[in-house]
């Protein structure tokens, strides 16, 4: 490619913003909610899956490269896009304008939620050196505590539903922006499919929250660390 100008970079970064929302962030969100929903099947299955993740080789590198960096990039560009526009849904209250508005609001909510969520899980995990088989009891203990109060439950439900909406609607936006769905019928049908997808993800998240709230079972390390 010829020399990259500032104008080209702008286009490039916005494309990157919509791409990172799907790969890797959206894929991560899907796996995150799906794996956590194993908690509804049983504590052992859940602990086993967390052990599996926390014993991955190069875990910290994977997390930085495939979660933290894309997430920061996506957030920074997202706020830039939000502040470049001016919400006008009160004057023009059409369906997709509502989606546009909610996409920006949920993005901001998820960002605030993630600061809290990571600040209470990942940060202390690293700070106290809870690695390998020590990670699961530490994280499960933290979650058990979160879901003891209505404040914690509300916070997590708001975070999960915002993230799920942002991802499902973002998938639709991605497909329109990249020209995967072009005609009005295709856009409408894809909208229905993504709503169903969002409902399934939201249900997984909600079920996990309910299970944690009802049965806060403490666990010990699976193997001697």
């Amino acid at each position: 490619m010829s020399k990259l100008t500032k104008e080209d970079l702008h286009f490039f970064l916005l494309k990157l913003h919509s791409l990172t929302g799907i790969v890797p962030i959206g894929i991560f969100l899907t796996f995150h909610l799906a794996i956590n929903s194993l908690r509804t099947v049983g504590v052992r299955q859940y602990q086993f899956s967390i052990d599996l993740i926390n014993n991955l080789p190069f875990l910290f590198g994977i997390e930085v490269l495939f979660i933290y960096v894309p997430l920061l990039l996506h957030s920074a560009l997202g706020f830039y896009i939000t502040f470049a526009g001016r919400i006008n849904v009160r004057r023009y209250p059409y369906y997709h304008n509502w989606m546009y508005t909610l996409q920006r609001i949920t993005g901001a909510v998820v960002f605030a939620f993630l600061v809290y969520h990571m600040g209470t899980t990942v940060v202390p995990k690293i700070y106290y050196g809870k690695e390998l088989f020590d990670a699961a009891p530490f994280l499960i203990d933290a979650m058990n505590r979160e879901f003891q109060t209505w404040g914690g439950r509300t916070l997590y439900l708001a975070g999960i539903f915002s993230a799920v909406f942002h991802f499902a609607n973002g998938l639709w936006g991605f497909c329109v922006s990249w020209g995967v769905i072009v005609g009005p019928a295709a856009q409408r049908n894809a909208g229905v499919v993504f709503i169903l997808f969002g409902l399934v993800l939201g249900l997984l998240g909600a079920a996990t929250v309910v299970e944690f709230s009802l049965h806060p079972v403490p666990v010990a390390p699976s193997l001697a660390g």
């Binding site: 490619m1 001016r86 059409y94 989606m99 546009y100 009005p184």
Partner: protein
Amino acid sequence: MTRETIALKIKRQDAPGAKPYWNVFKLPYLPHANVISCLQEIQRNPVTADGKTVTPVTWDCNCLEEVCGSCTMLINGRVRQACTALVDILEDPIVLKPMSKFPVVRDLQVDRSRMFENLKKIKGWIEIDGSYDIGEGPVFPEKIREKAYALSQCMTCGCCLEACPQFTLTNDFMGAATFSQVRYFNLHPTGAMNKEERLEAVMKSGGIADCGNAQVCVEVCPKKIPLTESIAEIGRETTLQLLKNLVLK
């Protein structure tokens, strides 16, 4: 119900950058009147409801049949052409404001040259001659002509931009009308000779990637142009062009 008078509340501004103010005018009711004929009435007798003689309200208009787009303004908060805004079906008082996304020249007149500049950037024309003969144009398939006709109706009125949450007075977003014109000129067999240049003109700051898919443009377009289809189509073409540029250039 017979109406004796109608009221017009108009947001006015004497010069670019001057402080806006409001005037209310009371006019005798006439059946089948439109906003333009009311403004003409004010021009004849520029006296406000409280009896003050003021300078006549200025506005732009030309064709009076909703094909030129020049009389676009905010009527009762909604962006539309004044010529097709019939007083009989408008709520009283009729509130007139200049478009908010373009700099005001005076009263209801705005400067929409940003749209013209964008059309120049995307080469909103078909090259038919140059320093050499490019020959006869290819045949235009009927199916494509039909599609192109819908897009050709754009009158650069700016409704789509006024209603767009991503288009503001200060940013550089090009907006739906421009993207749709890229599609229009690229659909033409001769116009397609400059396809890449047009696509690359919208692969920049303010270009197609800035679109947030709020899709208000298509809702307010007075010509019912399939703007969101154009946006997705240009989104597809620019995505392919990006990949092409990455591997071929």
